[in-house]
């Protein structure tokens, strides 16, 4: 929308100029790509032997195991963070002051500490021999805090009348939450929740640092244990593993976009489905969440 507002429909002169920019720009990008390509092939990184290693059954098995390891850590972390998120969000909205304070302190503390620091401390401190659990626990704690904030924003974005009507019907607080507020909040925040799950998936790569054999760690092991033409195949391995990662994240992001579109289509009038699009706080949260 803004793109068309920012400039006039190009006239003959501007069309020529735009074409010139297009050609120059594309040439510059192309030149950069070609330069990288040439330099890489000069150093022998694009030699067929470098890529042949992915035909070995052992290496394929390694990569398959690594994908499963990554998905396992992601699955555990996703479940853990969602459960923790619900608990913490309930805590923050509780009527009891100590519970509210405790939940707020927990969320603020772990949200502001780098995830890597938490994971490393858990790994060294408690779970040295169980790097998968250390990774999953660290991810759950951090992302649980973020999901709690997302859910809270969602619950606050549900129109007030919903809760009031439920109380007027004589529902208890738990009933109001479970059967009225949370379903609407989850529906409104589903895209944000999923984009935070994408962040969780990306962050499983931190397992690299605590030696959990997920994709990146496997990439490094493959690259440093195989020698081709007197060189280590870092470039080819990183490209292959990178493609797998980007593919997985894009799939999950696409799911988020699809759900967002679907939600917008089915919500009638001013349902809570399109609330986060207009309110500042949730969209800010989304920026915050996806930046991590």
């Amino acid at each position: 929308m803004s793109a068309s507002v920012l400039y006039d429909t190009p006239g003959p002169k501007a069309t020529v100029r735009n074409r010139l920019y297009a050609v120059v720009g594309s040439l510059a990008i192309l030149a950069l790509l070609v330069l990288s390509f040439v330099r890489l092939s000069d150093k022998g990184h694009l030699a067929p032997e470098m890529w042949d290693i992915f035909n070995y059954a052992g290496i394929r098995q390694n990569i398959a195991d690594a994908v499963i390891a990554t998905l396992k850590a992601f699955g555990l972390a996703a479940i853990g963070s969602l459960i923790l998120g619900v608990i913490l969000a309930m805590g923050r909205l509780s009527d009891h002051k100590p519970v509210r304070w405790l939940a707020t302190a927990f969320i603020e503390l772990f949200r502001s500490i780098p995830l890597l620091i938490t994971i490393y401390a858990i790994w060294v401190g408690f779970l040295t021999d169980y790097s998968m659990w250390a990774l999953a626990l660290g991810l759950s704690v951090y992302n649980g805090c973020v999901q709690a904030e997302v859910l809270r924003a969602g619950i606050n974005s549900v129109p007030k009348g919903q809760g009031e009507a439920a109380y007027a019907l004589g529902m208890s607080k738990t009933q109001v939450m479970v059967s009225v507020l949370i379903p609407q909040a989850v529906r409104a925040m589903l895209p944000t929740i999923i984009s935070q799950l994408v962040v969780t998936l990306k962050d499983t790569s931190l397992g690299f640092i605590i030696l959990y054999p997920e994709l990146l760690q496997t990439a490094r092991l493959i690259a440093s244990n195989t020698q081709v033409n007197g060189q280590y195949p870092y470039v080819s391995t990183i490209i292959v593993i990178g493609a797998i990662y980007v593919g997985m994240c894009l799939l999950l992001s696409a799911l988020a976009t699809w759900i967002e579109k679907r939600g917008r289509r089915t919500s009638k009038g001013s349902g809570p489905g399109d609330a986060p699009e207009t309110i500042g706080a949730p969209s800010r949260l989304r920026d915050n969440g996806s930046a991590v």
Binding site: M1, S2, A3, V5, L6, Y7, D8, P10, A14, N18, Y21, A22, G25, S26, I29, S36, R39, L40, K43, H45, L109, S112, I113, P114, L115, L116, I117, T118, Y120, A121, V124, G125, V198, K202, D203, T204, S205, L206, F208, I209, L216, A219, R220, Y234, V235, I238, I241, G242, Y245, V246, C249, L250, S253, S283, R284, D287, N288, S290, A291, V292
Partner: protein, 215 residues
């Protein structure tokens, strides 16, 4: 307590390292992010496509992978022998630039249509419209998301510590290798990061308040 006092020089170096890598990569991210946002709204289709590809690719890549690319692939293509600090800031800056770009672009979208229309009707070109009219007004809405992006950047800088850049996570690793108990080390490192992130949010709070007065 002893952990900090006994190893204070290393901690100080680590803290300075965290601050400087945050500062350098913030500048890279800001410059690149605004540039790419400009490309994404420009009238030239190939540049728009490039901008979109840039954001999509970088946003969906784990930062650790970018660090690997930056440390193992980039030196093979460009100048070999760059310092880990520079390579780390590049990876961090490029990664964050995609988020800055999205924030700036949504900021551009919040500027009332009339502004750009008025700028066009007095004959301004695209770059003039963007530079003189739209971007200055977008700044105000971009500041809050930028603040959280830069706080995230500070937290992400911990990954650089695992790639032999001197900073606070490196200190944590060093201390646990030296056999200190992890809990006090964790608390001190966390405090170090809290100081930096509070400083950033304080700074942005000040900027935001000044902008508010300007309205």
């Amino acid at each position: 307590m002893n952990v900090l006092l006994d190893n204070f020089p290393e901690f100080r170096d680590g803290f300075i390292g965290t601050v400087s890598i945050t500062a350098v990569s913030s500048v890279i991210a800001l410059v690149l992010g605004v540039l790419v946002a400009g490309l994404r709204v420009s009238p030239v289709p190939p540049l728009r496509i490039f901008g979109t590809a840039w954001v999509t690719l970088l946003r969906n890549t784990p930062l650790t992978l970018l660090f690997l690319v930056s440390f193992f692939v980039v030196p093979e293509i460009f100048f070999p022998g760059m310092s880990p600090f520079l390579l780390g800031s590049l990876a961090l800056g490029f990664y964050t630039s995609s988020f800055v770009c999205e924030a700036v672009r949504s900021g551009i979208n919040t500027v009332p249509l009339g502004q750009a229309e008025a700028a066009r009707s007095i004959g301004m070109t695209f770059s003039q419209t963007l530079r003189i009219v739209v971007l200055p007004q977008a700044t105000r809405t971009v500041i809050p998301p930028l603040s959280s992006i830069f706080i995230a950047l500070t937290k992400n800088s911990a990954i650089a510590g695992a790639f032999s850049v001197t900073e606070l996570f490196g200190w944590q690793k060093l201390m646990s290798d030296r056999g200190y108990a992890i809990a006090p080390v964790f608390i001190w490192v966390a405090l170090g990061y809290l100081v930096v992130t509070f400083a950033i949010s304080g700074l942005f709070w000040l900027v935001e308040r000044r902008m508010e007065v300007a309205r």
